[in-house]
Amino acid sequence: MNAPHENSRLSLVFTPEHLGEALSLYARNPGAILYAGGTALLSKQSERLPIFGAPLISLKRVEELKTIRRYENFIEFGAAVTLGDILRCKESRFLPPVFKTAVRAVGTPAVRNTATIGGHLAVTERKLLLLPILLILDAAVEVKSQTTTRSGEIKRFLDEKNGFILQANEIITKIRIPTGRFNLWGFSALPGSVIRSQDFFMSCFVARKNRFLIEKINFAFNIDGRLVIRIKQSEDRLIGKKFPLSAAEIREEMRFFTSKIEGELIAPSPYKKERIINAFRLILTQDLTKSGLIE
């Protein structure tokens, strides 16, 4: 086992090389901070010498968390795989294009070479760009503690505010992204202009269309990085419908969607609520014959 390293001001830093070691350390240090890419952790630190107030367990050297494997129906990434490595790996050509497009939109190349896919999910204060994408792709995740293993679709690990919930001493270990399920997609991340990122807004959808009929459609929105919206009932209502929708159908769906947003949603402001509603309208008015960036 690697000996811990002491920061002269305070916490220990553990650098385990195997998953068992990492889980064991975490079980013995329940207040420890898991350190993957560190981008979210360090962005909160204004000190030159960062102060964490708790031991760090670095996951960067854990072999089992750095694997990339392609299976028949999905690609599996270890949670410590960086977003840059996802784009560079040879398996990337099999990834759903909406996922690759979203990864390319995360931060800058320097950020992507540091941030990990597991860390991206686990950040609790902000809902980052990839969470809605993974949700709509029905991606699955595996989490482990020293004594338990759980896995399933990501949505099962989210609370009512779509924050990722981990139980005591659990670490995200794998993320599985289904391939080949959808034949249409759309993605848009704003701002597109010089106006500040506090207006961040993202919308995305994937769909499977069989001739003219929608067999499945999933869509989600991310507002300000704090709120992820997905209205399952609206998705279900569109199954079996023929695209492009008629004007009456669009009105009907808009009415339903808006009532859900008004009823259930804690939207930050009328402007942001309006943005979600407009983004849904934009999805409805797509003719869904081609995929790409929603414009």
Partner: protein
């Protein structure tokens, strides 16, 4: 061991010396009030704390006859005012000492915003004037349009922080390494506070990023406190502001409030035009007079009217001191004036282009333009041609009046026009500040050029070298440029309506031409030395600066509001300038492009102090977020250089905000404007 980046000039943040001490300020947490007590704990070895008492009668610097305290004594005038200077062997020790000092305050009750107490303000400079056309009586007409406009603080993005390094040498000699536009003032300040003679204080310019401007006198404050500590502790001192400190507390562009009213006749001619303005200059601002007079100058000369009244004042506010920024106060003035003219055009349902052509003071610009031409009609015609302004403006106005659009998925567009000028030398004959150039040609054909001003880019130095090389017919490698701030060098303090670089360009050419002439007459066996100062560029009667240059410009901003995504997109900015002789078009283009982008940030980003604390301090748009920028130069081989670096700040805000106002069908009056504000304006028909 001396550590630096390996080639001079170096950045202050790169400098390290054995045995040097780090220094920092402990700053006030309250906005206004009094210090009740300061408790300093037992200090570790080699740690010192200086307060106002230690500086005693020297606890100030003098800038333009205004005394500015170095450290707060009893009274706190703004949040972040320095109270103590702490020195320590490491930055970690500094931090822990700062955390252990306890200061008790008695805080004064605060107002909500600096604009909310217009009656209680302390005015530090006032001006008023009025002029009427000869033979005209003052009209008794009521104003047709009355408007007010606000501009907020502005900070430029730059990656490095202000700082100073004082190298303490044998016999108490000080080497002051600082990035400053006013090194002579730095030297004078250090000499005053340390009581050292001139030959013991040597100022060297540190490197700084090219957009590091608007910090005219603050480097002197840093140098003053650091040199005081150096002399007392007999050690070298490095004082570098943290990025947060620099952004929150260093000088900003002063916020302004304008009231403008006017009346216009049937022929689109202005009958009267009244300006009333207030600048909020922070706790200290030594150039209040210059700022007010610059605005008054713009108000007096840019537009024609039968009668023009101007009333302006600068007042202090409980915010960090402001400073001279690009354009001095013309950007604030032109924002208000151009917004007003556009609003007048909208109200009277006339073309903003035609309204300008009818009212810009063409005679004035003709008189100071070396071509003796009416410049603005030429610029506006070309701009109109390139942007198709008249047609687009009419189309968007039609849409606006129709009430926007009634179907989703739509885009509403807007287009805005503005005009402005940037000048150099108009008041040079009154200037107390001068530039100087000393040039020597040795018998070995080496040319040493010693200048009093600091170029903001390597390219400028290269241009100077090329100029000398061409005139004296020598290879560029024979020419060296250095900077001199000795007692013999004229002060290069900020001039009114700046343009230091173009003045230096002119002085260098004069020196080279005189050396060439002397060499031809007397030969080159002896070193020939020539010195020129700004006053050498005055007319014989010393009443006119021969190289007064006024850059006239116009800009169009085109935007679209996309309703489905509810965002503002800046589609294109087009700028046309009458800019005289351009030494290097690539450099000129870069200067204006970056000024355009900074201006866009001023319009679209909330730079209030509270927001700067909360938001990321560092936002500058990445290359993926920039609009298309077209720059059209109307240049001339026969002219001479004019200033171009500041004019975008005067042009872009009004053009952009007017375009947005047209698209949302609302009279907008203040910046910044953000997406949520635009779409909440209530007049947008989805």
């Amino acid at each position: 061991m001396n550590i630096d980046s390996g080639d001079y000039p170096y950045y202050v943040s790169d400098i390290r010396r054995e045995e040097m001490l780090y220094a920092c300020f402990l700053r006030s947490h309250i906005t206004e009030g009094r210090i009740q007590s300061v408790k300093i704990p037992q200090l570790p070895k080699n740690v010192s704390v200086f307060s106002a008492k230690d500086f005693g009668k020297k606890n100030f610097i003098t800038v333009n006859n205004l005394k500015i305290p170095l450290l707060a004594d009893k009274e706190i005038r703004y949040r972040g005012e320095p109270i103590l200077l702490i020195t320590a062997p490491s930055s970690e020790t500094l931090k822990s000492v700062c955390e252990s000092v306890e200061i008790e305050y008695k805080e004064k009750e605060m107002l909500e915003s600096i604009f909310s107490d217009l009656n209680g303000k302390t005015v530090i400079y006032k001006t008023s004037c009025s002029q009427s056309a000869a033979g005209e009586q003052e009209d008794e007409e009521a104003p047709e349009v009355i408007s007010s406009f606000n501009t907020p603080v502005q900070e430029h993005f730059y990656p490095d922080s202000q700082g100073v390094f004082i190298e303490y040498g044998p016999s108490s000699k000080l080497k002051v390494i600082v990035s400053s536009e006013w090194p002579k003032h730095v030297k004078q300040t250090v000499m005053n506070i340390t009581e050292l003679p001139s030959e013991k204080v040597f100022v060297m310019l540190a490197k700084s990023s090219p957009t590091f401007d608007g910090k005219i006198w603050q480097p002197s404050i840093l140098a003053a406190v650091a040199s005081f500590a150096a002399i007392n502790l007999k050690k070298s001192i490095k004082l570098v502001l943290s990025k947060k400190e620099d952004i929150l507390y260093s000088g900003k562009r002063a916020p302004a409030l304008f009231f403008i009213d006017a009346c216009i006749g049937d022929s689109m001619k202005l009958h009267f035009l009244n300006f009333s303005f207030t600048y909020y200059c922070g706790a200290y601002f030594p150039f209040a007079k210059e700022m007010i007079e610059t605005t008054a100058f713009g108000a007096k000369y840019f537009y024609n009217a039968r009668s023009i009244k101007i009333r302006g004042e600068a007042c202090v506010s409980n915010t960090p001191p402001t400073d001279f920024f690009s354009g001095i106060s013309l950007p604030q003035f032109f924002f208000a004036a151009e917004m007003f003219i556009n609003r007048l055009a909208k109200q009277k349902e006339v073309s903003p282009l035609e309204l300008r052509l009818a009212n810009i003071n063409h005679a004035f610009f003709r008189s100071i333009n070396y071509e003796k031409k009416d410049i603005f009609p030429i610029l506006l015609a070309e701009l109109n041609n390139r942007c198709d302004f008249t047609r687009k403006h009419a189309a968007y106005e039609h849409m606006r009046k129709r009430g926007g659009t009634s179907f989703p998925g739509s885009v509403i567009r807007g287009i805005g026009l503005s005009t402005a000028f940037q000048a150099n030398g108009l008041n040079m004959h009154r200037g107390r500040f001068n530039q100087s150039v000393r040039m020597s040609l040795t018998p070995e054909n080496i040319v040493k050029v010693n200048v009093s001003s600091i170029p903001n880019s390597k390219r400028t130095r290269q241009i100077w070298k090329e100029s000398v090389s061409e005139i004296l017919n020598l290879p560029i490698r024979n020419v060296t440029i250095s900077y001199s701030f000795s007692d013999e060098t004229a002060s290069n303090g900020p001039t009114l309506l700046s343009g230091n670089i173009s003045t230096i360009n002119r002085l260098i050419k004069l020196c080279a031409e005189e050396i060439r002439s002397k060499a031809q007459t007397h030969g080159r066996e002896q070193t020939i030395t020539v010195e020129k100062v700004s006053s050498d560029l005055l007319s014989r009667n010393k009443k006119k600066f021969l190289y007064t240059s006024v850059t006239c410009a116009a800009a169009v901003a085109e935007i679209s509001l996309r309703f489905l995504t509810m965002e503002l997109i800046i589609d294109k900015i087009t700028v046309i300038l009458d800019c005289g002789y351009i030494n290097n078009e690539a450099v000129a283009r870069q200067k204006i492009e970056t000024a355009v982008i900074q201006s866009i940030l001023w319009v679209t980003r909330d730079e209030s102090y509270q927001n700067l604390i909360n938001e990321s301090l560092f936002y500058y748009p990445g290359i993926d977020r920039l609009p298309e920028i077209e720059i059209i130069f109307r240049s001339s081989e026969n002219g001479f250089e004019k200033g171009i670096g500041e004019i975008a700040y005067s042009l872009i805000p009004a053009a952009l905000l007017t375009a947005v106002g047209q698209a949302v069908n609302k009279d907008l009056k203040e910046i910044p404007i953000e997406n949520e504000k635009i779409f909440n304006l209530g007049e947008v028909d989805k």
